[in-house]
Amino acid sequence: MSQQGYVAAPPYSQAQPGIGGCSAGFGPPNSSLHYGHYGDPNSSYSAPQPGVSKSTVPFGSSAPVGPPPPGTHQFSQTNFQNGPSTPGQQPHRFQGPPPPSNTGSSYPPYSHQSQPAYPNTASTSSATQLANQLNSMQINSYGPGTAPSPRMSSGHPASLQGPQLMPPTQQQMSLPPGSQVPPPANTVNGLCAQPSLPPMARQDGIPGPVPPNPNLQQLPGQPPGPGYHPQQANYGTQMAGSQLSYPGAFPGGPAQLPGPQQKKLDPDSIPSPIQVIENDKASRGGQIYATNTRGQVPPLVTTDCIIQDQGHASPRYIRCTTYCFPSSSDMAKQARIPLAAVIQPFAIVPPNETPLYVVNHGETGPIRCNRCKAYMCPFMQFIEGGRRYQCGFCSCVNDVPPFFFQHLDHIGRRVDHYERPELSLGSYEYVATLDYCRNNKPPKPPAYIFMIDVSYRNINSGLVKLICDELKTLLDKLPREEQEESSAIRVGFVTYNKVLHFFNVKSSLAQPQMMVVSDVGEVFVPLLDGFLVNFQESRSVVINLLDQIPEMFADTNESETIFAPVIQAGMEALKAAECAGKLFIFHSSLPTAEAPGKLRNRDDKKLLNTDKEKTLFQPQVNSYEALARDCVANGCCVNLFLFPNQYVDVASVGLVTMYTGGTLYKYNNFQVSLSDSNFLSDLRKDIEKTTGFDAIMRVRTSTGFRATDFFGAIYMNNTTDVEMAAVDCDKAVTVEFKHDDKLNEDSGALIQCAVLYTSISGQRRLRIHNIGLNCSSQLADVYKTCETDALINFFAKSAFKAILSQPLKIVREILVNQTAHMLACYRKNCASPSAVSQLILPDAMKVLPVYMNCLLKSCVLVARPEIPTDERAYQRQLVTSMGVADTQLFFYPQLLPLHSLDLKSDSVPAAVRCSEERLSEGGAFLLADGLRVFLWLGVSAPPELIQGLFNVPSFAHISTEATSLPDLDNPFSKKLKSILEHIQSQKPYTMKLIIVKQREQSEMLFRQFLVEDKSIYGGASYVDFLCCVHKEICQLLS
């Protein structure tokens, strides 16, 4: 059944032969051309290649090896591969899709259709699922308040009321399975993937240019003909338009115009991330995604939809690299697909989704399995009339505590299933009892300590004043529980240069008191009472202090600073106050003063590309690691705001931040007048962020596999407990799983992530996220449910961790290798036999190469003297704690055309691929990667646009100095602002706006972000990389 998903392909295959033929014809020339083409790339690519080369022979040589003609053949076969099932089925398959495609233009029906797809993929369960749904509907009627609409699961009226679309979908869902519509997602993807393949094949065989393009663009859909269309239908009709250019180009190109003189591979013909994103948006955007099925693949991170928790954690909390685990470790080894979950336990949910329920069992505390200590969750199976339950994780049979007893209904489910979040939801919270508290004492509300570097530079630059002024207003916005009037968080203030100054801001004082601690060798907290205060109570004293700090040090000439003692002091303060908390450290220089943690400038470009390069990413002195450990042990999270204008050794100073779940912000060459808005907005956001303090996370799994590796802004004392001094909404932990044993396909792979933390109001809580994945002994199932974005997240984090111990070269090789391996394995096991030289990408990993290439080009993995060491360390650290959405944007920036804005609609324009070819002289583009946002202006950008945005008459008048855009009352400006706002929302860092004018010096920087192109630092272009990977695969297969 599951394979049927692929069957959809056949129609394609029929269209393809032509292409195959084409390419075949061009085979020989291609190889030679290859050389020519890759001459350049080769050299640029050479850096990564040596490592790879074992398997991947340089293109030139490989080309002949992989005989072009077969390649072309493959092309045709590719289609078959995707649909491994026999051609005979095709017609049947076919029938399914077409109808929708025809009716396609109407949106709603499609949305429903995407849903049915899931039951299909989990074919075995489709029947049961139907039953489930029916059940759930029945149960609805059991629900206490008979909901007006019986279809609503009234057990959780609140949760369900929000998304009212829900009932209809459910209804719909029951229908499609019956109709046995082919699984859309996979097939579609498969089809999509195939378009991308031909170019590759063509590349092998056909170096020819893309003359067909113009033609094809005119008549995009035509060449593939009927075979093609149905596929699109699956995507949803909306896609059709946007897709036209893309698929059209591909089939047409090779098929019709095999120009031997073609020099470059048409970028349009290779898998486009934009296309994938847009397709997913089109098919699933704006809909309700209910997590009611084990192992269903969620929409992409880039897709906006409403997520409804129906028993599995929302993908906002957990995203997995694959939603179907291979059932045995052999399989897993074979596929080499990392089995990982990216957990963002405090991810923000949009207001239209239900916030987490809090379960309070009073003094008894959460109900847990006696053996494995897993928390009560939907995976627990109640038996013996409800008197006992069997743990889904370890299969231990536990007694149900009397207070928790409830009868079971006729299908063996508890009558109160929908009344209890812990029985029906994937994510919920428990109120923890004293057993879960430090020293068995109820925690105190956390505290924020602001620690400001008041050395000469910061005073002189006005930064100190800026911070102080901002704090005056910010302190009113400390996070608080919704039901509370004011924040329970206490605040404290420290300034420092070579010594530390603590401030007593007790409300009873007329003026603040300053206490200098100059014993930095053995730092301590000089006061307890009056240091951490409630801002509302001590307002006047605090304001007084903030007024005075800039003046107090106005004539300072102290230029040396300390750093480690500052953290130590903050940590000691929290320890003394017996609470968890966050330090906000505003620091600007290398700590060279005589004190623990003193650093020297060790930035040495000579180390680049040597075995010692890794030391640049390691802390300079050991004390920081010990400090980090202490901080974590005391629930002290360190947020670091760096304002360097030279080397500050981010790898060392940022270490504690990283281990304590803090956030590192870096503002190079900070100038108050220019860059303050970024910083202030970061600061504001950070202060307002919802955060869990003094957190400890435990990931439990069902038998057969376990979590083995953790990546993130975390600290691990042992192999299982993930300690986080604090964890905020943007922090994600990537967890890798390994097999212990065989997995049972029926029971699947269950994961429970429990985070014990202290809330902002000082309540000890447990946040539980549960997710169930499928297991399969079919590799195809695994490949089908892969999530490229999560994969890249995993690869990025593991690679960035690996560079601490391995030379960059090796790390890059491993990445390329693994990419090739995964694809080769697919090729070998899931695709029907075909010629070796054919590049076949699994549908779900279609964009893996381009993303992987972006990762390889990331400045962290590229050693070039032009890239500051600090910047690399900084980015390394950022990525380590990023969630999937952030890494996606970070590695593949969003490029938005502005010249063709639809000023009337609210929507953000569709992105284009990150390549210079997409730019046009007459246009303006916005490029955002999560840290920066570039506004690129073509030399002949429309004057009205320029006028509208900058209020200057012409291109020449635009100043690239500006770091913000003027607020103008015109549609252009407003539209752009709203777009910026939209991009910025949900992003942890405030993006720095950089205005780039075409053909000016600053364009160099901008170009680095056109990640599909060859990078000035030597990174391969997308096309080149694809070829490289292909060679690698060929090598593996041969």
């Binding site: 003026q511 300053m514 100059s518 053995e522 301590f524 307890l528 009472d529 202090l545």
Partner: protein
Amino acid sequence: MATYLEFIQQNEERDGVRFSWNVWPSSRLEATRMVVPLACLLTPLKERLDLPPVQYEPVLCSRPTCKAVLNPLCQVDYRAKLWACNFCFQRNQFPPAYAGISEVNQPAELMPQFSTVEYIVQRGPQTPLIFLYVVDTCLEEEDLQALKESLQMSLSLLPADALVGLITFGRMVQVHELSCEGISKSYVFRGTKDLTAKQIQDMLGLSRPAVPTQQGRPLQTSEQPVISSRFLQPVHKIDMNLTDLLGELQRDPWPVTQGKRPLRSTGVALSIAVGLLEGTFPNTGARIMLFTGGPPTQGPGMVVGDELKTPIRSWHDIEKDNARFMKKATKHYETLANRTAANGHCIDIYACALDQTGLLEMKCCANLTGGHMVMGDSFNTSLFKQTFQRVFNKGFNGEFRMAFGANLDVKTSRELKIAGAIGPCISLNAKGPCVSENELGIGGTSQWKICSLDPSTTLAIYFEVVNQHNAPIPQGGRGAVQFVTQYQHSSTQKRIRVTTIARNWADAQTQLQHIEAAFDQEAAAVLMARLGVYRAESEEGPDVLRWLDRQLIRLCQKFGQYTKDDPNSFRLSESFSLYPQFMFHLRRSPFLQVFNNSPDESSYYRHHFARQDLTQSLIMIQPILYAYSFHGPPEPVLLDSSSILPDRILLMDTFFQIVIYLGETIAQWQKAGYQDMPEYENFKHLLQAPLDDAQEILQTRFPMPRYIHTEHGGSQARFLLSKVNPSQTHNNLYAWGQESGAPILTDDVSLQVFMDHLKKLAVSSAS
């Protein structure tokens, strides 16, 4: 010179010196047979209304080892303009300024009546006085408030140009910066970590700006005083600031859990205070004034742990060697005290708490530096408040009664050597020909440093006659001693006071009666007592008592008149008659008896005993008792239980306490309210009289005594009962068969028994 008594008094008046012997035995052997050593009580800065200081430098003997000051005893050749040193016989030229000298035109220092001269010399820069308050904040709210008020008040009493600084401590030690506006700033130190002076100065940013750290900081390089001025500021400048700062002082904010003492870092606080001054103002007059309300409980110098269940060490613990922290703490404070003394600063300790505060360990801080030690129950008592106020009292000439950094140099003629000194001083280790090998007190030197002294500060200085028996002293020869005290006057002037005295020699074998008659039994009692107390510091109490007894018996044997083995025949001449009684009371005094006293109290009493002048010391040894009754004017009565009569009011002054005791009848009358009836106005006056007298004592005494007003049967009456000679006890009450007096419930021997034993032992031929 009618009597020796007058002579003694006159000498004391003029020179502030009292010798145990005013005629000296002329040989070493004889001198040792005198039992009471040749010694004197010297009050270097005794107030002299009639002594205007001279405004020039003293003339010194040119011999480098002598350097005695020209004095009335020197032989002067007016024609040759030469003078002969009376100590080393070196002939010296007068300096050019003395060119006009002649028999009729003598400089003051040559006139006989100016055996004591004070010189004002212009030397070195004048630095203002420094007062560094070191304040414990682990106090009860009420106490702290009172202390704060006292401190605020004291600011107005300081010399306007004096520098003042503030250190507070509790769990941490805070050094307050005084020059800042708008925000009070302090440097905080961990209370558990001892720091060297260098570290302290580095951390306070006081180290002289080193060359490498200078770039780009023009402000701090300017002047050394500017830097330290952050912590030490002229009173007149930061008066208001400091008043506010003191006003805002909070109790130590660190939580003290039940069953714990607050963590008090006295040791580190003192160390920082010492280090601060050491680096910035060495060898200038400075007082570190420590105000503490409890024992140090952490860090170096801790005296007791913070667990309340372990009480602070008692004499019992010390005897059993059970005082865990004592040795270490004592060592810490000794080190500090020596450093402080080396810098010429002094440490005052104002300890007010109901329990002990560790004075035992800290005593050396005050003892070695000449600082004050004040012990009270609470800062919120007039005892503390007035005592503290009195530190800043001014003398008759409007000058503060304090002087600093004194250097006492003693010179003797050849027949004498210096054995040592006992008092608030440290040795300067000045060896010389006149230093004896036999040490009494702080010996081995002819110079001592007294970091702080006031007009009543008195040192006991012990000599040794070294003249050999067979080397006769020329007829009419006189032994001479010169005391040269250089000090910093409270007006910051440098002054030198020179006292030269001479006494006749007498051959003890032939002229014993002269020597006997010239015995100053009061001075001798005090001098012996000081020796005894000094020994008691390092020896077991019983040993000291035994030693004192033996000395007394030997003295009686030497100077008593008796027939052997007949106690009844024993007589002592008038000049010795009171001495045994002094010894009796000394034996009972808290200076030698630790029973019923805590180690702190003993240290406190001994501290004062070692520095007060003769009169006060005598009061301490043998309290004074006055009786007020209708039978006549107030009269001094015997310090005896027989003096306690129902119709008497008694006023006892023990130096540390003033006790007013109403006899039984008087108390009843008072209860009945007769004093309020107009017809019994005389009773009212009777009641008032001792109060007025007590007030008079209270006004002048430093430290302010504990004032006790009690009556017959009152619990506080124990202060009186424990002091009087227990002539009537429960044992012999009926044997005496008298109704007068009150029986004392004690097993102590009475003076009568003591005397009987003494006589018996003195006349015994066995010993």
